[in-house]
Symmetry: C2
Subunit: 526 residues, 2 copies
């Protein structure tokens, strides 16, 4: 029997609040610090490890976090989720994105079908389609191969797939598996579609329209933009478009598309990178085998996330240390800092994943909570960030927990030796140095050159950013966000906060406004 309780009603939470704080600079120092860093590490799958040596916890706090995990029934809640309970209470939906990459628990039969079979079936359809495009069995009207795939989608249909594509583009190039270059159109700003379209070779471009409901206004508008451009170029749009949507959407059985691939209401947009939403564009770009490796990596991380032992469950551990930082230490933000240019848009995806899931003030029963929930997430790749906002991270008046990501090896293997070290070594040296600089600080008689230290971070270390490692990395954060939502007793799977803006925007376009809204509309010439 699962109890869904607010965090502040739990005895272990009170114990956490009363816990003795860790002096990070002190525990990181000397040989004890070295030992701590060696020990505070847990495998994440696919050669990745989550190292929390520089997070502000110690064995005692970890023991209390373990109690908290047990008292809050966190792994039971995860089991309820993957066994198909209606976890998204607001929208009365199951939450089944894990099932796109594996069977974690019991079969889930819903709408008369085994959902795992359904998701695997759609993956197979996509793989077959992609293989036919790559082999030249499916071509444009002139019998020429498609060379580019362009995704039209917004939010979860854009950020995740785009971040994943960018993460693997260069890897695919050097591994001879970049089958098609990908582009993305998302914003309703007409300059987005117009700007992307003028870089595309239209006769050889295939567009993937992604909208679960089939009614997302931005996406349908951009589809129209693209169809206009195709028509003007003398092409028949229906030869150049596929749809990824739900079976009940208006797009599902339209003759406007070469093919349609299906998802369902149990895959939330921000959790859809491993469904057809990511699968179609990524399979076309890199081949279905690469997408399958990506899914395998995610599945491996999912299995680790089932572990009841907090210290063997990297996602739950990351989540609960984050809750400790947020609700006990009072830290408001989290920076995500990948030392990997390929992950340039990964923080933007996590921004949606995390902030849209847990940026809420009511619990899963719709009752206001009296504690802070999801933090602001932001980040850029290191070393770029070092030359930008790290000044504030080191010496600003707020302390911001940091999540570093680093890989021992580059993706492309091309490098130069300057001043006795390669670029890859410099990259890794920088992230190692930053962790210690943030944690330990440095005294100086000139206060302007003083670093207080005590600024917490963790690092995820991998061998190389491969498709499987990327899958594990993505699933880690998805599961972390899920566990934080459970801890805060939120429904992490709805997004009622986006509704009001939509309603008012419609009023503006219908000229049904008065007061301030009318003035803003007039100022913007609508």
């Amino acid at each position: 029997m699962i109890n869904w309780k607010n965090m502040d009603t739990l005895a272990s939470y009170q114990e956490l609040q009363a816990s003795e704080r860790v002096d990070l600079a002190a525990v990181i120092a000397g040989e004890n610090g070295a030992e701590r860093v060696r020990n505070y590490s847990v495998p994440m799958g696919e050669g990745l490890a989550f190292n929390y040596g520089a997070r502000p916890v110690d064995d005692k706090i970890l023991a209390t976090l373990s109690k908290f995990a047990e008292e809050a029934q966190l792994t039971e809640k995860f089991a309820a989720l993957y066994n198909g309970e209606v976890i998204n209470t607001g929208e009365k939906r199951r939450v089944l994105h894990h099932m796109c990459r594996g069977q974690l628990g019991e079969a889930v039969i819903a709408d008369g079908v085994d959902k795992r079979d359904f998701y695997v079936g759609e993956q197979k359809k996509i793989a077959e389609f992609a293989n036919k495009v790559h082999s030249g069995e499916i071509t444009n009207a002139n019998g020429e191969k498609f060379t580019t795939v362009c995704q039209i989608g917004i939010g979860g249909s854009d950020l995740g797939p785009r971040a994943m594509y960018l993460a693997l583009e260069n890897w695919a190039k050097v591994n001879n598996t970049l089958k098609m270059k990908a582009a993305f159109i998302s914003n309703v700003d007409p300059d987005d579609a117009a700007g992307v379209l003028c870089t595309l070779d239209l006769p050889h471009s295939l567009f993937v329209l992604v909208s679960k409901s089939g009614t997302t206004l931005e996406t349908l508008t951009n589809e129209s933009f693209v169809k206009d451009a195709l028509t003007k170029a003398g092409l028949n749009p229906s030869n150049h478009m596929v749809a990824v949507t739900s079976e009940t959407s208006p797009l599902a059985k339209s003759a406007d598309y070469l093919a349609a691939f299906f998802m369902d209401d149990y895959i939330g947009g921000r959790y859809s990178s491993t469904s057809g939403v990511g699968g179609c564009v990524l399979s076309l770009a890199f081949g279905p085998e690469v997408f399958a490796q990506f899914l395998d990596g995610a599945a491996e991380a999912d299995k680790l996330a089932k572990n009841e032992d907090l210290l063997q469950n990297p996602a739950m551990l990351d989540a609960l240390i984050g809750v400790y930082e947020r609700n006990v230490l009072g830290m408001q933000n989290t920076a995500v800092l990948p030392y990997s240019q390929a992950l340039s848009r990964f923080p933007a995806h996590l921004q949606q994943l995390d902030m849209e899931s847990n940026g809420k003030s009511v619990n899963r029963f719709g009752e206001p909570v009296s504690y802070a929930t999801g933090p602001v997430i932001f980040g850029e790749p290191g070393t770029n960030g070092q030359h930008s906002f790290y000044q504030l991270l080191h010496q600003g008046t707020d302390i911001i927990p940091l999540q570093f990501v680093g890989f021992k090896n580059s993706q492309m293997g091309s490098d130069v030796l300057i001043q006795g070290s390669t670029s890859q070594q410099k990259l890794c040296a920088n992230v190692a140095a930053q962790i210690v600089a943030f944690a330990c600080g440095k005294d100086d008689e000139n206060a302007n050159k003083k670093f207080e230290g005590g600024r917490p971070s963790s690092i995820i270390i991998g061998e190389k950013l491969t498709p499987a490692a990327l899958g594990a990395l993505l699933a880690h954060f998805e599961n972390k966000v899920m566990y934080q939502g459970f801890a805060w007793n939120l429904n992490s799977f709805d997004q009622e906060g986006v509704q009001l803006g939509k309603v008012l925007a419609k009023k503006v376009l219908a000229h049904e406004t008065d007061g301030a809204l009318k003035v803003y509309s007039d100022l913007l010439n609508i």
Copy 2:
């Protein structure tokens, strides 16, 4: 006589703390709200206006902010800055980036030269060089024109110029003034250089190496990467590279470059977009006339920033309302949300500009301050952000002030009419709707669908994102950050917080580590 005092010693600051709070939802409502939005607007130059109707101030608080501006001598401090005083006390330097775009006050003679003449002289050299490249007078060794320019730089030598290039790329395309496509290499991650290089047509590429000191390790490493690639392609690197650096740097008189253009220590990296750092790549990409328009726009905004009347000085007004939100209302972050895809990297530039300038805990005399300083800055273009992190902005447990930017017209002029409105109208309708949704909220008996409102925002509205409008927009934020630094009594022009990481990274590369740092280095295989 200027007094540099900590903010909390000022009488007007105490008055601010005691001010009656504004109920934003109440003051925005009804006809009074409409009137307020009409009135709370100030021109920013180049057709832009700063509208603060939805910021949490009223006439009384604005009057106190005016007192504060006077008591803190903000415009006198700006005058001291542009008249050449040593405002960057830590590094004992003048701060002269405004002079790249105009003469705001007295001539500044330093190092034996009139600095304005120096900056204009370098601009002319760059313009002449760019014209020769465009006309074909300067070519590759085969006499063929260069078609691409690639900037090699990091931090201020990357973020600003890159954001400005992206902001104008599509505008330039439709105005037939895209002379050369631009690319950027910044990260020491070898996959950054390798990834960009494999997209370039090397025989027709010109590289701009930007490093003020001529010693930035990331940049020199990437230069070497590029030189290797050029050499391997059978090209002589010195025919393909120019340098932007200081006259005293090791790069200044090297035969390795086709040309060298100079800046000096009085232009901070994050304030260097209007110097040769931005000027070289932007003049090559768009032509010197376009860069000159950009400077004119910045100069117009600078002039407005001199105004002693707070209500006629948009940069100072934006700054002080921000200080009020940060230090009186206790808000920790600021989101920058341009409803313009062209401004996709503008928030990343502002992140550096703001967080590196004011993310500090000591005042300009090196004494600890006892109030919060620079906030975390983050943002993505709307409408993308709406489908991502806006959930937290609307319903999260923290209130985050928002800075919207919107334009009445698109840059490319290409559009579609769907459901009775164009994409541009939809874009503008969304930002208008969001402002009101955030400020007013909406009650609902289902607490999950309730919006508390009271979430402040301002909007900068322009006709179109032209080079001049972009210049005004950039200068507005530069001057806003400067004024906030003055208010907090910081030195906004040094960045001591980036030093410790550099020192430790060198130790790692030299294998001179022990304790935790050695463990992290080992884990990362260095």
